[in-house]
Subunit: 124 residues, 2 copies
């Protein structure tokens, strides 16, 4: 099975980076989830960076990675910086496949998720 | 039924604000969704602001609003600025109930949503 790398922007505020790491932990712990590994990486300002985060998975023997940009808005980071970082990794680990999904804000599943989220949390 | 206000940060980049408005349109158009109205508002840099977005719903006769902070990280905006803006509205429209949900990044439904999103989009 593939592994999942959640790619966040990264923040000078350590608590924000920890929120992303906790999110990766929560995704990994979901009952029935099928990714071999679920990790977080950061475009900037926090560790690991994207190439290192991908490489850490490769060093665990992972050969297929789904890279999920945890970004709300399209922009240079999503359109260029993240693909560039993945390409940097690809040059070092050509045997590992990386499938880049749309960013969170453009996901076709987000509208349904927002209905679930707003309903669940409002009721909870 | 309540109405849903999706509260985003707002951006100097018009396309980012339009992404949020398109997201509200997509949520509104979801089959089976039960909110009477689904709209977007912005903390800053774009219109409508939060009090005006809430007031526009109130002027349509809405008496119950779910306010969903479309933010990834906790911070001053989520902890203080958004509640302050809702309180500003509440002072003008005390008959309208506003229920503030956790922000997107803290939603208990987000880990499942990310699994759905990464699987759907990777397969799509």
């Amino acid at each position: 099975m593939p592994s999942l790398l959640i790619i966040a922007h990264g923040s000078r505020r350590a608590a924000s980076n920890d929120e992303v790491r906790a999110l990766a932990d929560a995704v990994r712990a979901q009952p029935g989830q099928t990714y071999d590994h679920v990790e977080a990486a950061f475009l900037e300002l926090a560790e690991p960076g994207i190439p290192d985060g991908l490489a850490a998975l490769a060093e665990k023997g992972v050969t297929e990675i789904v890279a999920f940009p945890y970004f709300l808005a399209a922009g240079t980071h999503v359109a260029q910086d993240i693909p560039d970082a993945i390409a940097e990794f690809g040059a070092r680990y050509p045997q590992v496949g990386v499938r880049l999904t749309p960013h969170l804000g453009a996901s076709i599943a987000l509208p349904t998720a927002i209905l679930d989220i707003s309903g669940l949390d409002a009721a909870g």
